[in-house]
């Protein structure tokens, strides 16, 4: 089967107060229809290919969340498994959240796919388990899809969540020219360099 390129848009509406979702996704591919959805490998907070809504401070007070990414599949059945963590960050007494979710998946041309890939940053940002996933998943998913799936992360405000995180800062120096910091297709939020966490800011 030839490669199929697609764009996915996930829209989530908040139906209960102070609901802030964090999404983790894994892409799967099958030659035949899987017998049980529950038996599929699902992502978790420490094992995922894509993450959306990872920076809670960027989401506060918002009621609608939209995330878009592109992907490619060479298998007849291409599926995404998603774990949606329902955070309220202690801002409400409600312990169970309500939400509305819509997924729109549309086929796109390879030209569109390539142009969006070129517009994204060259440095993929993925979870700490990426290496393990790449080793475990080559039969399931082409490497190009993995690379592309990380692009979705960059289109959000998220910072990478890693188990062994390390951050080093240096004394503040005069800002570099803007052209050196960003690629043209990235949103304003994702243009911020990682060191923008700052030397005296909360993390």
């Amino acid at each position: 089967m030839s490669d199929v390129y697609f764009r996915v848009k996930i829209s989530i509406n908040q139906l209960s107060p102070s609901f802030y979702p964090t999404l983790y996704l894994k892409q799967l591919g099958f030659a035949s229809r899987p017998a049980s959805l529950a038996a599929l490998p699902f992502p978790s907070i420490v094992d995922y290919q894509m993450e959306f809504g990872g920076n809670p401070f960027a989401m506060l007070t918002k009621t609608k969340f939209e995330y878009t990414f592109t992907g490619v599949s060479s298998q007849y059945y291409s599926m995404y498994t998603m774990a949606l963590y329902q955070h309220t960050w202690g801002l409400t007494d409600m312990r169970k959240s309500e939400y509305e979710i819509m997924v729109q998946a549309d086929a796109i041309s390879k030209a569109e796919y390539d142009s969006e890939r070129q517009g994204s940053s060259s440095r993929p940002v993925v979870s700490s388990s990426r290496e393990a996933l790449v080793e475990a998943a080559p039969a399931q998913q082409p490497a190009s899809a993995l690379e592309e799936s990380s692009r979705g992360l960059q289109s959000t405000e998220s910072e990478p969540v890693v188990r062994d995180a390390s951050l080093e800062t240096q004394p503040i120096v005069p800002a570099a020219p803007e052209s050196a910091l960003s690629s043209p297709a990235l949103s304003q939020e994702s243009q911020q360099p990682q060191s923008s966490i700052g030397s005296d800011g909360g993390m």
Binding site: P56, L84, M94, D164, E168
Partner: protein, 238 residues
């Protein structure tokens, strides 16, 4: 601290920190920090966090420097593995055959990533066993356990509901299997949890709301209804 001096502050919000939220858990200074350390140039300081200190916690770290122009530091968050040898892990859906010598408990540990109900079952081939499940590998047993099952009719079974107040997401539970009599035992230990999955069709609005018979505001609040862990994660496929 590579250059300059800093104060590192820690706060948290989690399932049991009912008075804290994402705003109040952001440490402003040492007065509202859970813990803090002063670090001088060339020195390294650490704040240890016990794994069992809270459930589903988010930690907030603030590093305060006096002069950002003269400060450089490296901060690391890492998982410190248990000092003692870890118990072998019991995987959901993969049975393990265990030989339990009399007087020598066999231990396993497991962790679950969804809040669906689960079943821990020990099928006894020979002998009789007691199965204890607790939070501490070193002490789990007759004196320290959350759940206990005894083999009756050849099966020791623990069925834990999703609403059990002692059941938490992403928490290591330790299983201790002990032979009841002087006779050794041979068992098949299995953990079963069926994940609830909601399929999302393309271009279709899907609403996920509470399922309850009476929909009143009061019922929504934990003080009146949910004494157990809330549903924290929902699984979808598209």
């Amino acid at each position: 601290m590579l250059e300059g001096a800093a104060r590192i502050m820690l706060q948290q919000t989690g399932q049991k920190d009912l008075a804290n939220n994402i705003y109040t858990a952001d440490p402003i200074d040492e007065s509202n920090a859970l813990e803090y350390r002063d670090v001088q140039q060339g020195a390294t300081n650490a704040i240890p966090i016990a794994g069992g200190s809270c459930y589903t916690c988010w930690y907030f770290i603030k590093v305060q420097v006096t002069d950002p122009k003269k400060a450089a530091y490296r901060i690391t968050v890492s998982q410190d593995e248990e000092a003692a040898p870890e118990d072998p892990q019991l995987v959901n859906g993969v049975p393990a055959q265990l030989y339990v010598a009399a007087g020598h408990p066999v231990k396993r540990r497991f962790i679950l990533d969804s809040m669906d109900h689960w079943l821990l079952q020990a099928q006894v081939a020979t002998g009789a066993v007691d199965v204890y499940v607790g939070l501490n590998s070193a002490t789990v047993g007759p004196q320290d356990y959350l759940w206990k099952a005894s083999s009756a009719g050849g099966v020791a079974s623990l069925a834990i509901k999703t609403t059990d107040v002692r059941f938490h997401l992403a928490t290591f539970y330790y299983v201790s299997v002990q032979a009841v009599s002087d006779a050794d035992a041979l068992i098949n230990l299995s953990l079963k949890q069926q994940r609830s999955v909601s399929f999302i069709p393309n271009n279709h609005d899907s609403t996920f709301a509470l399922t309850r018979t009476v929909r009143t505001g009061a019922l929504l609040f934990q003080k009146f209804q949910f004494t157990s862990v809330q549903e924290q994660v929902k699984f979808h496929v598209f």
